[in-house]
């Protein structure tokens, strides 16, 4: 691999930041959810890069667990979105503010 580790880390940082921007600026709950997936994936890239450069399989096993957690999170998160839409007829997170005092 002629590509240095720093390049993978930098790409991962950029992808993570794009995900952060999405979570902070978008108001559609499903798009916010997709931006969280983007952040999870950028961390996965870091783990795989370190695993590959250190010659250690642990990072890749951790990515498997992250994928399992992401799958569970997708099921629960989308169920919450459906339940919210059923009650309030919107997925705009500015209008979902009952828990805000």
């Amino acid at each position: 691999m002629a590509v240095p580790l720093s390049f993978y880390l930098a790409l991962s940082a950029i992808l993570f930041t794009i995900g952060v921007v999405g979570v902070l600026t978008r108001r559609n709950a499903i798009v916010v959810f997709m931006c969280v997936e983007l952040m999870l994936n950028s961390v996965n890239l870091t783990l795989v890069a370190f695993s590959s450069f250190l010659g250690n399989v642990t990072g890749q096993v951790l990515v498997l667990f992250v994928m399992a957690v992401a799958a569970a999170e997708a099921a629960i998160g989308l169920a919450i979105v459906i339940a919210l839409f059923r009650n309030k007829q919107t997925v705009n997170i500015d209008e979902i503010n009952i828990l805000k005092w």
């Binding site: 992808l15 794009i18 902070l24 994936n41 642990t58 992401a70 339940a83």
Partner: protein
């Protein structure tokens, strides 16, 4: 400029572009489709890092399961009324963009300012670390307990999703 570097920059550029499209596009379905393209770019990067099993799982689990679920929910909610999705530029957006720019600058500074201790020692080509055999041996050996706990987590996820999405009678 060798081939691997060209491949890396091509895939990385595509990944950043599709991630930006995911955030910037107004239509949630188009956002989801560009996110799928982003996942394919990441799978290519995993392949270049010799993580073959993860590259396949990235496509099967993320694109095949999670994103299909997301698109299914977008269609189910029938979000065609665009006025519900119009978003204005306001103070929160600018603050978010400024904070994110600070974050990425900090991270890039850390990555490029100091000498990485592991610049060169790396997995030799043809190594079996990322293969099904290598990951399976670690998963059912060292990581057996976390693996089993993951199945409990997925069971809890199934039950939670059914309870949440059930129509109250």
């Amino acid at each position: 400029m060798n081939l691997e570097l060209i491949l890396f920059f091509g895939t990385a550029g595509a990944a950043v572009a599709t991630a930006l499209l995911t955030v910037l596009l107004r239509n949630p379905v188009m956002s989801a489709i560009s996110l799928i393209a982003n996942f394919f770019c990441l799978a290519l990067l995993y392949l270049s890092l010799q993580a073959q099993l993860l590259a396949v799982l990235q496509i099967v689990v993320y694109t095949g399961a999670i994103m299909v679920l997301v698109i299914f929910v977008i269609m189910l909610l029938n979000l065609q009324r665009e006025e519900r999705l119009t978003e204005r530029y306001d103070l929160k957006k600018i603050a978010g963009a400024v904070l994110a720019a600070g974050l990425v600058l900090e991270m890039l500074y850390v990555f490029f300012s100091e000498e990485m201790p592991l610049g060169m020692p790396e997995t030799p080509a043809g190594s079996s670390i990322g293969s099904v055999e290598g990951i399976g041996a670690a998963l059912f050996g060292t990581f057996l307990l976390p693996f089993e706990v993951t199945s409990l987590l997925l069971l809890a996820g199934i039950i939670g999703a059914v309870v949440l999405a059930r129509r109250r009678s």
